[in-house]
């Protein structure tokens, strides 16, 4: 499937393949059709994480943030010389760093002022996977991240993305290192129309991680442990939607990961608060369908079988339907990746 090489002007006109596992149907639709595809009483759960400027340049080395640890350190992956125009797998290897070394982002090396990240840990799996701690914290850290950081870019795009192209319409706290892109086509106007129809909206915040490191070893570890925050009103909204006979639909695999990861952490119950999950749905039950216990459907970008996201889709429809849906989308000229078309999978 071809990649969308740039954000399109009107996301409402982007294509939406509706795969209904129960009816065994595939319907070619548009994003704007969600306003009649969803019913009053349905609940749409989005990931409201904003995308943070996760790419920091320290001389020739690029430090790509992966996730913030609970103690304020950050996991990160290092890239060698080159820039976003080079595919990650073709980037040069970075020099090897040891614990205590600094990656200086702004200011002179060795200075106590400026902005730098100090290596606290180097992963056994790869010297590119490190844990660092910045010399700033709180408001000064966030100011520096926004001053010196760039949004992670994609080699298949024809231009560099700005901050407006890397946020969903409902983005809030900057927890995601890459845009939770399933929600990208949902304009505020469409969400308002859905609300007026009686579709409920709720959010989780999930620190959606990096999509590719360019290293088969590191990519094999993805998705890494990720942070989530679930509000009580979102849990209440799920219970209320069920009680009134509505469907609970996730916008993006990160929403599924957050809520089902939360349930896994709490013996099957949803508990409000901040937590972390390493859950990889779909991987536990290869070859058969394991229904999502929380969701009745998923709005997602188009994913190929080689991607980790694809495993998760199997929680919503059997593999043969997903494979056929992918062939249908391909024949119809659907586009993939962050700015591509979408599918709505109803289980």
């Amino acid at each position: 499937m071809k990649s969308a090489s740039w954000p399109r002007d009107n996301p409402l006109e982007e294509r939406l393949l509706v795969i209904d596992a129960r009816q065994q149907t595939y319907v070619d639709s548009r994003i704007k059709d969600l306003s009649h595809l969803l019913n009053a009483n349905d609940l749409l759960v989005v990931n409201d994480a904003a995308t943070l400027p996760a790419s920091l340049q320290a001389g020739e080395v690029e430090l790509r943030l992966l996730a913030r640890e609970q103690d304020g350190a950050w996991r990160a992956v290092l890239f060698g010389a080159g820039d976003w125009r080079t595919a990650t797998e073709e980037r040069q290897a970075p020099p090897k760093f040891v614990v205590g070394e600094r990656l200086v982002i702004a200011g002179a090396a060795g200075a106590t002022a400026g902005f730098y990240a100090q290596v606290e840990r180097v992963a056994a799996q790869s010297p590119r996977l490190v844990t660092v701690r910045f010399n700033l914290e709180g408001a000064p850290l966030w100011s520096a991240l926004y001053k010196y950081g760039q949004m992670i870019q994609y080699a298949y795009l024809k231009c560099q993305l700005d901050s407006w192209s890397t946020q969903t319409s409902y983005s809030s706290r900057p927890w995601a290192v890459e845009m939770p892109s399933a929600g990208r086509p949902l304009s505020s106007g469409l969400l308002l129309a859905l609300r007026r129809k009686g579709v409920a909206l709720a959010a989780v915040t999930h620190a959606a991680g990096i999509s590719s490191t360019g290293s088969p070893v590191l990519d094999g570890l993805l998705p890494l442990r990720e942070r989530y925050d679930i509000r009580q009103r979102t849990i209440d909204a799920i219970i209320e939607a069920r009680a009134r006979g509505g469907r609970v639909l996730a916008v993006g695999t990160s929403v599924v990961r957050a809520l089902e990861g939360c349930a896994q952490n709490h013996d099957g119950r949803l508990v409000a608060g901040v937590g972390e999950t390493e859950l990889v749905l779909g991987r536990e039950v290869p070859g058969r369908l394991a229904r999502s216990p929380i969701f009745d459907g998923l709005l997602s970008g188009m994913h190929e079988p080689s991607e980790s996201h694809y495993l998760l889709l199997k929680s919503f429809a059997p593999a043969h339907m997903l494979d056929h849906g992918l062939r249908v989308a391909n024949e119809l000229g659907y586009l993939m990746h962050e700015f591509g078309d979408s599918c709505l999978i109803l289980s």
Binding site: A139, S143, S188, R195, A203
Partner: protein
């Protein structure tokens, strides 16, 4: 709306009405994220609030710069939480002494529109989506009677505030019944540096204290009276 523990983003917060609003909302228990171009002045306001036992953060940024919008909102949301109330207070008169439209530079008009009209539009556009998912939110646009009166020499300020008022009206109409509110508040003439820059000969004793105005705006928010008056779009504080 009870503002206790609510996340409130206030632009132009280093002095004048913005500073007064920051102190007033923080005193009422709000978590205030303060924006201005000058970080050191903002830090002084943050220190004042902290001395009072309040919670505040300083975010340096220029609301007239499109590329500053998400950095401002991202920092504010991370530090204060998802934004519940956005107060678009930052504004510019343009060149002072004020001058007639005949003598106004095109670039000065563009700058006034960027700060007074486009900045509030962009911030509100970027913040309202999150508010929509949360099911509630309030945007207050600080306006002026210059938005409706034709005062000689106030041309670009007037036009930019009139544009902001009209955006407010349309937004209020589009969001009616959604739980989200966009209102415009005319604070009247206040004893501020901006007023002194515009009308140096004015007697400060005849002007409102910005702290009194800020207290009235807080009362308006806590009373929720915007719910019935939002379509009037302009409210004199």
């Amino acid at each position: 709306m009870n503002v206790k523990n609510k996340a409130v983003l206030i632009t132009g917060a280093s002095r004048g009405l913005g500073r007064a609003l920051a102190l007033e909302f923080a005193r009422a228990g709000a978590r205030v994220a303060l924006v201005a171009r000058d970080a050191s002045s903002l830090q002084q306001v943050v220190a004042e609030i902290e001395k009072l036992g309040g919670v505040a953060w300083a975010i340096a940024g220029d609301v007239g710069d499109k590329n500053a919008i998400y950095p401002i909102l991202g920092q504010a949301a991370e530090l204060a939480g998802s934004i519940d109330i956005l107060i678009n207070n930052a504004s510019t008169l343009g060149a002072v002494p004020l001058r007639s439209l005949l003598d106004t530079d095109c670039e000065a008009f563009e700058h006034a529109l960027a700060v007074n009209t486009l900045g509030p539009f962009r911030l509100a556009k970027a913040a309202l989506g999150s508010m929509l998912v949360q099911g509630q939110g309030l945007v207050i646009n600080i306006s002026s009677d210059a938005a409706v009166e034709a005062y000689p020499n106030w041309g670009i300020y007037s036009a930019s505030k009139a544009g902001l008022d009209q955006l407010t009206r349309v937004w209020a109409a589009e969001l009616q019944g959604s739980g989200l509110h966009v209102i415009s508040v005319d604070p009247g003439e206040m004893n501020t540096k901006m007023h002194a820059d515009a009308i140096p000969e004015a007697d400060p004793r005849t002007l409102s204290d910005p702290h009194d105005v800020a207290a009235r705006i807080l009362k308006l928010v806590e009373g929720g009276s915007y719910e019935v008056r939002q379509l009037a779009a302009r409210q004199s504080a």
